[in-house]
């Protein structure tokens, strides 16, 4: 699998208020294309539909209309093609404290996707692969036997990244991967993601509300506002030459040392 395309995607939720039902359009006619080796940042405020797009890609929600195409073929929800799709598209969740099962060890979290991906592996091969995954995300091998509550937020997020990499995906969806982490370790996790992306030639959908990291880590930026893409272009274009009001507002809100220095120096 090489190219994942979302085409004219619409997702509506029915809201019931007494007897009346209203429709909320969470995702409004969104189209984009994820290719290996490229990172697209999806920027928008809370409730703009970012996470819904992630869920649609992960088959956790069904679209109201529109389609997801894999190399030009529509995605399947059942059968062998669906299983292949699930291996090819993986996700890193926002909250590292909720995405690991408190009951299971780190080893279990990594061994399961490995076993599912390689049913023919022996126990030793699976263990070896788990250790390799831990090394890939720069964690010590003795974390295998630990439970999630013994790890810090940053370490947990590294485990979550390792779990997403276990099925050797082509596309990675990262849903605000650092927003729940301490500011001091965000850069480390983001750099790890960027390094892994280069090593594996991954296509990454980086969901965030932070324009600065979006510009730094992505090739393209899509700005989502009330479910619709209001701006889509190369990272520098969108940041330096914002067209839509909301993008301008976002750009204004990010700290800009040059502007601040100019204000002080006048």
């Amino acid at each position: 699998m090489s190219v994942l395309e979302m085409r004219e995607m619409v997702k509506e939720y029915r809201l019931r208020e007494g007897l009346r039902t209203t429709r909320l359009r969470a995702v409004d006619n969104v189209s984009f294309e994820l290719t290996p080796g490229r990172t697209i940042a999806l920027v928008g405020q809370s409730g703009s539909g970012k996470s819904t797009i992630a869920k649609l890609l992960m088959q956790l929600e069904r679209p109201t209309s529109g389609s997801i195409l894999v190399d030009g073929e529509p995605m399947q929800y059942r059968g062998a093609r669906a299983a292949a799709y699930r291996k090819a598209v993986q996700m890193v969740f926002q909250d590292p404290f909720g995405s690991l099962n408190p009951y299971h060890t780190i080893g279990h979290h990594l061994a399961r996707p490995v076993t599912l991906h390689h049913p023919d592996f022996t126990r030793e091969q699976v263990d070896e692969r788990v250790l390799e995954l831990l090394r890939r995300v720069r964690l010590d091998e003795d974390y295998v036997g630990r439970k999630p509550h013994e790890l810090s937020g940053g370490q947990r997020q590294r485990v979550a990244i390792a779990r997403a990499l276990a099925p050797e995906p082509a596309i990675l969806v990262a849903d605000e991967p650092v927003s729940m982490l301490d500011v001091s370790i965000r850069l480390g996790v983001l750099n790890l993601l960027a390094a892994l992306q280069r090593e594996e030639n991954l296509g990454v959908l980086y969901i965030t509300h932070d324009l600065a990291t979006a510009r730094h880590f992505s090739d393209e930026i899509m700005v989502l506002y009330h479910g619709a893409v209001v701006e889509h272009g190369s990272a520098d274009d969108v940041i330096l030459n914002p067209q839509h009001e909301y993008t301008q507002l976002l750009a204004e809100a990010s700290p800009a040392p040059e502007r601040r220095l100019a204000e002080l120096g006048h």
Partner: protein, 281 residues
């Protein structure tokens, strides 16, 4: 291990050992003798009943009977409430609607009148029938609690992550969700056992219990019929009454300890402890 848990496990353990081993060491509890209503001592550890039966032997068999009721009802309640609570919530959609409607119906059926009705229709009730009736009328409450908790666990990120990695649905249920429900299940089972033993004692005391069996409830029923209280034969009604109270208290202590494991905020909620916090902060 907290003091609560140690005391609870200690008392419950002694009673269980007595119920398992006791009947092997005592004579026939139904043997009638000429020694009506003798007090403790004189060769009978807990005296005799009006018809000269050994109260200690009866207590041993009654403990076994009540424990059997408790275990059977506990197991049946666990099965029924997990099936209707956990499976319904996990599958979702129409199955969930149907299961929770059924649970709600079972919940509003008044238990005691139903039990009395069933009990009075069947002439020769075995201990298993009584256990089944108690289980059928008592699983709905815990099914609702389990459903609520399962709904919350089902939508957590680690379950979504398991779905994304392509885990089979039964594996998600049994390996990812169920272990997180174990503390809750344990406390529900302990509660069901208490309910069953108390319920059976109540039924037997009303004369609706299993016929021809020994439980703490039937002992109290015969003591009441034999006017034990008016004749001052405390050794006849006090042991089964105490056994019920002690076993109920022991299981409750175990249950509180499990609750504290689930929810650490419940620990050290004595006034002295809370005063210490306020001084610290």
């Amino acid at each position: 291990m907290t003091l609560k848990l140690a005391v609870g496990l200690g008392i419950a353990g002694i009673i269980v050992v007595f119920g398992v081993v006791g009947p092997l060491l005592v004579g026939n509890p139904s043997t009638v003798r000429d020694l009506g209503l003798t007090g403790p001592g004189n060769g009978f550890l807990l005296g005799t009943t009006q018809t000269g039966q050994d109260v200690f032997a009866q207590l041993a068999y009654a403990t076994r009977g009540s424990l059997i009721i408790g275990v059977v009802v506990g197991a049946l309640t666990l099965l029924l409430s997990s099936f209707f609570g956990i499976v319904g919530a996990f599958v979702g959609g129409w199955a969930d609607e149907a299961f929770s409607l059924f649970t709600n119906i079972m919940l509003v059926i008044p238990g005691l009148p139903l039990v009395i009705l069933i009990s009075s229709y069947v002439p020769n009730k075995s201990i298993w029938l009584v256990a089944a009736v108690l289980a059928i009328t008592s699983w709905a409450g815990s099914a609702r609690v389990l459903r609520g908790f399962t709904l919350s666990v089902r939508s957590r990120d680690y379950v979504l992550a398991a779905r994304i990695s392509g885990e089979k649905r039964w594996r998600i249920l049994f390996v990812e969700i169920l272990p997180n429900l174990i503390p809750l299940l344990a406390s529900q089972v302990v509660f069901a056992v208490i309910f069953a033993i108390l319920g059976e004692a109540g039924l037997s005391f009303l004369g609706l219990g299993a016929s021809g069996s020994f439980t703490w409830g039937t002992m109290l029923f015969y003591a009441q019929n034999g006017l034990a209280l008016r004749l001052g034969a405390w050794w006849w009604f006090a042991p089964p009454g105490l056994a019920i109270a002690l076993f109920g208290a022991a299981l409750s202590l175990i249950n509180f300890s499990i609750d504290e494991i689930i929810n650490p905020k419940l620990r050290s909620q004595t006034r002295a402890e809370r005063n210490k916090w306020s001084v610290k902060s």
